[in-house]
Symmetry: C2
Subunit: 210 residues, 2 copies
């Protein structure tokens, strides 16, 4: 009995063709990014390659950045799950300072592996988009700072600045010429991740020292 006599609110279901088209577009976008690079993914080209109209693309994602946001969201969700309910020290259970360090290491890696998409997910105007930037990092850092019970005068502001220290370099200030090859963790091609992770750890240890 799943057809209530009083269907409350608008049907939360998306029309079947719409859902299918969303998937088609996301897959096509992923393919084009891998093949041509993120900044070659134009709305026209994406629509044509997906066999859909340009209007459809905008209806689904609102803006160009919206496509990349949607692409990130799936992976971001998995990342957040690990942080919120995974094993320690990243997940709950460990000492807050250790979690802070582990979080920064994981986040650095996550952003570096996806920096091309993450950068493309920024809107050109308006504020920082949801699902990018410190919108998840900041509250998490804020919480751990509170749990650590350091004698910090203004943890709210400090968490913003720490989130910025963490995400600024991989997202914004170091993006000149990272190799496009995404996820390989092989031959030490980017010790950049290690440098940033170690720097973060130093920062956190110094801030947390009582």
């Amino acid at each position: 009995m799943d057809s209530p006599l009083v269907p409350f609110g608008p049907p939360p279901t998306e029309r079947a063709d719409a859902a299918r088209n969303r998937e088609v577009l996301l897959c096509t976008a992923r393919a084009m990014i891998a093949e041509l690079g993120a900044d070659q993914v134009t709305m026209d080209a994406l629509a044509e390659r997906a066999g859909l109209g340009k209007g459809t693309v905008f209806r689904r994602f609102g803006t160009r950045a919206g496509i990349f946001r949607a692409l990130l969201d799936a992976e971001e969700q998995r990342f957040q799950c690990q942080v919120l309910s995974g094993p320690p020290p990243l997940g709950p259970g460990a000492d807050p300072v250790d979690r802070l360090i582990a979080y920064g290491r994981a986040r650095t890696r996550f952003l570096l592996e996806r920096h091309e998409i993450a950068r493309a997910a920024f809107e050109r105007k308006g504020p920082v988009p949801p699902a990018v930037g410190p919108n998840f990092s900041r509250p998490h850092i804020r919480m751990l700072l509170g749990q650590a019970a350091l004698g910090l005068p203004d943890p709210d502001t400090l968490s913003l600045q720490l989130a910025s220290a963490l995400e600024g370099p991989p997202l914004l200030f170091l993006v000149a010429d990272l190799p496009p090859g995404g996820e390989s963790a092989g031959c030490g091609e980017n010790d950049l991740g290690a440098l940033l992770a170690d720097g973060w750890q130093t920062l956190v240890e110094r801030v947390a020292r009582r």
Copy 2:
């Protein structure tokens, strides 16, 4: 005797009309920003209001962001003079840690007062432009970190992260709804500057504690 027989290199002088047009464009841009807001300043509108062709605008400044860079450069230069040769604690002569704190306070204020222009000075593609972002802050922080002779393992990376903590919030991560009114320091309308400045001081004091 200022006409050498062997004029070395290309004449370093800009043609008179070019220099004049640059000034006209910068003034017009300033007026339009004050009057309409930075994101209403389009290349077409700027050219028309200045009474020049669009090609001229692009010849002078390269990109739209270039205009805002040029606008910032003048003020940035005065700021940098104060840092490099002004009175302590901002200028040389004071304890490095005190200079670091003073620098962050001054920089925060500087960026908040100009955040609209500074934000518009970012290019949408390519790396972070010169004259914006941590391109001045980072080396300065790096130098002071070195002078302070703390036992930091990797001051190069740490200076990047500190620069990001300093500039990220006013430039990028907090830009949702700052009041457009720029420079008034009057009725405490933005204690935001004070919060960020105090947060920076906390951060630096903790990092520098030996």
